[in-house]
């Protein structure tokens, strides 16, 4: 399941949804807001998503992970809005019988989510400058 929203991500609560008696492994990934990016001191981040396609594409990524690896459960949540240092911006969790597929599937999902979903982040620097990550800033 893929979710996008402004609600605070609670990894403990999300993790509980992956419990399964057939599961011998759980792997979770939390993406946090850090204070430095490409030499800039970061104050906070602002995330924007186009939810209809982000959810659809995220579901596709999870379905692909399920095809590639024998998973029991897989779930991803991406937060939008204004996030502060230390906040969790994205969470991926998978459960499976054995650890290998759980590690690989978790990695696959986060890597694909980062490059395929229409989600953007604007960095607000301590210096007062703001910029969209990964974008050229050439508009006159």
């Amino acid at each position: 399941m893929m979710q996008i929203g402004t609600a605070v991500i609670d990894p403990d609560e999300l993790r509980r949804e992956l419990f399964d008696h057939a599961a011998g492994a759980y792997v979770g990934f939390e993406g946090w807001i850090r204070n430095l990016n490409e030499g800039h001191e970061v104050l906070r981040l602002e995330y924007e998503a186009y939810d209809p396609i982000a959810v659809k594409e995220g579901e596709k990524v999870i379905a692909e992970a399920r095809e590639k690896f024998p998973l029991l459960k897989a779930h991803c949540v991406h937060r939008t809005g204004l996030l502060e240092l230390g906040d969790c911006a994205v969470w991926v969790g998978v459960s499976s019988a054995h650890r290998d597929e759980a590690f690989l599937a978790c990695r696959y999902i986060i890597d694909q989510v980062k490059v395929r979903l229409p989600i953007w982040k604007k960095e607000h620097h301590v210096s007062g400058i703001s910029e969209w990550v990964n974008c050229e800033h050439t508009h006159e």
């Binding site: 993406g31 995330y47 924007e48 998503a49 186009y50 209809p52 396609i53 982000a54 594409e57 991406h78 911006a89 994205v90 986060i110 989510v113 980062k114 490059v115 395929r116 979903l117 229409p118 989600i119 953007w120 982040k121 604007k122 969209w132 990550v133 990964n134 974008c135 050229e136 800033h137 050439t138 508009h139 006159e140």
Partner: protein
């Protein structure tokens, strides 16, 4: 005949354009043609390959045709995670 296409801008493109969306009259054959035509609006020097496009809420290739009445969503380089 010119087509009437609804264009929506996101993130950097929206800020550059100063608008969320607009109705454009265009002879563009493909999504890529339309992107090039609107370059003054979205103001990006990003290669097409770094950006994404959706037509009527489905991700599409830049060589996908655009038709009269379509809604085209222009996505600057994504940065999730």
């Amino acid at each position: 005949m010119s087509k009437s296409i609804s264009v929506r801008y996101f993130a950097l493109f929206r800020e550059n354009a100063g608008i969320d969306e607009e109705q454009v009259c265009s002879d563009a054959k493909t999504a890529g043609d339309l992107f090039a035509e609107l370059i003054d609006r979205h103001g990006s020097s990003e290669p097409l390959g770094h950006c994404k496009v959706a037509i009527n809420d489905e991700l599409a290739d830049w060589d996908a045709p655009v038709n009269d009445g379509d809604t085209v969503l222009l996505f600057p380089p994504v940065a999730g995670g």
